[in-house]
Symmetry: C2
Subunit: 337 residues, 2 copies
């Protein structure tokens, strides 16, 4: 059945059925009223939004509807994680061509609902409209009890650290785009890294509660995102190339480009944070994932990120990340916001 | 200059400059971080979102960028008003073709910022991405102290009332689409009704604080929206045609179609509410706008709305409002969500 046959109100009812399993106690009003309403006792509210446009941010030729649903929510949960907050509610605005299959859109919602349940997030409302191409716009609301993480809190002397490994998402995109045949483990892990990123929500909360002040999630690429932290904090950063935690499957399968994929591929949705050595040692004991110190914050031209090899020679950086409206190179992945 | 020349980050900086005048004290983090963050003491949080797609919801051939900015925010403030809440923060997701003029997008933000200042709303964040056509997706967050208005709280015996006058927005759209030449006052008032609706925020709060429980804002048309209240409440409604407050400029300029424009034209963004006669008398004294009782809630097939003439004969209703994905008639206005 096409969405034009089911109609707007039929669709909304279908969505409400799929997501009703994720409704929590504090939620007073969800899908089907003028606005969602919920009770809160948290002193700080967080909100983020992200739009995904067909053939700009994704293509259904390499992404399943279900993966698209997961990822569209995951990138927003990651933004809340990067503030040290707990994501609670999501609103979903959907623009759909009339000849879209209802089954596809139902799978999209199933993918969102699956991730939402894992994180205790309720899909609390939204909007569905006709559009000439698929447009997905999500807003996610979260809460924080006290300290939050911002981009503007890095200080000279701070160490720069990242969670997890880098480059796997961009490698996954490259594999999908070029139809590369890798072995079974690489194929499934790299696809998952690109299409089903797992937001570092627990990790962000640990950072905020244990003295970290500055963080960002890696969506546009390490160099570009660290540049934003530096710009917002009025500082620079020096990185050691040999410390960058390139994902082992990326090193193994993309030997020549692996550092470049890790530095500027984007969409890893790992957390980058800066703090004193003492604070990093402390959070490292608590974090359930690998943490790697990759460089330090320095006083230099605000926003400038420099990379050095193991002999201390500077490595020249090309354009460092994804920017919308910039001309795209052939091999370059589309990026998230 | 085109947006592709200014680039994503230049645009974000421009937007931040335009909206910085609307930033309030409780706002801790706004445009330029992973998420917006603010302090709140309100026990209830509200959230709504709406997507507007070029050539589905608006066309720049009859709408200025500035009007588009105003309206895209106004329809979301209206949703918060319909819950009896106070809108506080807005997030703006923007999809733009690379050859869009920066000046146009700046005007769009100016239009939003103008309305935001009037209502003490801070534009706290957002996202800008490349898209093949203009896509505007807003989320608005609001607060309520206690009682909220919902669609599901209408009871048999309640009177049905609306604020203001109806039909002017749809008449304005008809005028713009057909290039009708009306007199100066009608031209400017009907254009304004369609493109710069004024959300009933103060009115919604008065309703919630003085005993009204059920309300909706009129976006899809009186019959359709009242139908949603009835459906959600498990009741029906009977309306008196002669009581419908048709806008005087609509009666004067669209004699034949004026009742139909008022009943199903949509996008008036007035509030429809139901309550006992005593409660309506009470709020009527407090509301700063006209209020008209147009019928009553009855026990009948849930969701059914019937219309009667002054001699008690039933008037047959056609398709009652705007639905996305339904085939559009020639004269029919595009509707909001």
């Amino acid at each position: 059945m096409k969405v034009s046959e089911l109609g707007e109100f039929g669709l909304i009812e279908l969505f409400a059925q799929i997501v009703s399993r994720s409704r929590g106690e504090a939620l007073l009003v969800d899908i089907g009223d003028d606005a969602a309403a919920w009770r809160t006792e948290a002193p700080i509210q967080l909100a983020t939004c992200d739009a995904l446009i067909e053939d700009v941010h994704f293509t259904l030729s390499t992404t399943t509807w279900r993966e698209l649903g997961w990822k569209s929510l995951a990138v927003n949960l990651s933004d809340i994680a990067a503030m040290g907050g707990l994501p609670k509610y999501a609103l979903v605005s959907l623009g759909l061509p009339g000849d879209t299959e209802v089954e596809g859109v139902a799978q999209l919602y199933e993918g969102m609902a699956e991730l939402a349940r894992l994180f205790g997030v309720a899909i609390a409302g939204g909007d569905v409209v006709a559009a000439p191409l698929l447009v997905l716009s999500l807003a996610v609301l979260g809460e924080a009890q006290g300290d939050i993480l911002t981009r503007g809190a890095a200080s000279p002397g701070d160490q720069v650290a990242v969670t997890g490994f880098l480059g796997a998402s961009a490698a996954g995109l490259l594999m999908l785009r070029k139809g590369l045949q890798l072995d079974g483990e690489a194929t499934s892990s790299l696809r998952q890294a690109h299409l089903k990123p797992y937001p570092r929500v627990a990790e962000g909360q640990i950072l905020a509660r244990h003295g970290v002040k500055a963080a960002i999630d890696l969506s546009d690429g390490l160099i570009a995102d660290l540049g934003k932290v530096c710009q917002a904090s009025g500082v620079g950063a020096n990185l050691r190339a040999e410390s960058i935690p390139v994902h082992p499957l990326v090193s193994a399968n993309f030997e020549k480009d692996c550092l470049s994929l890790a530095l500027s591929g984007g969409e890893d949705y790992e957390l980058l944070f800066t703090a004193t050595t003492e604070v990093i040692d402390e959070v490292n004991k608590l974090l359930p994932c690998p943490v790697t110190v990759i460089g330090e914050i320095v006083e230099q031209e605000p926003g400038r990120v420099r990379l050095f090899d193991e002999r201390g020679r500077e490595i020249q950086l090309g354009r460092g990340g994804w920017e919308h409206f910039a001309p795209r190179r052939e091999d370059e992945p589309p990026g998230g916001g």
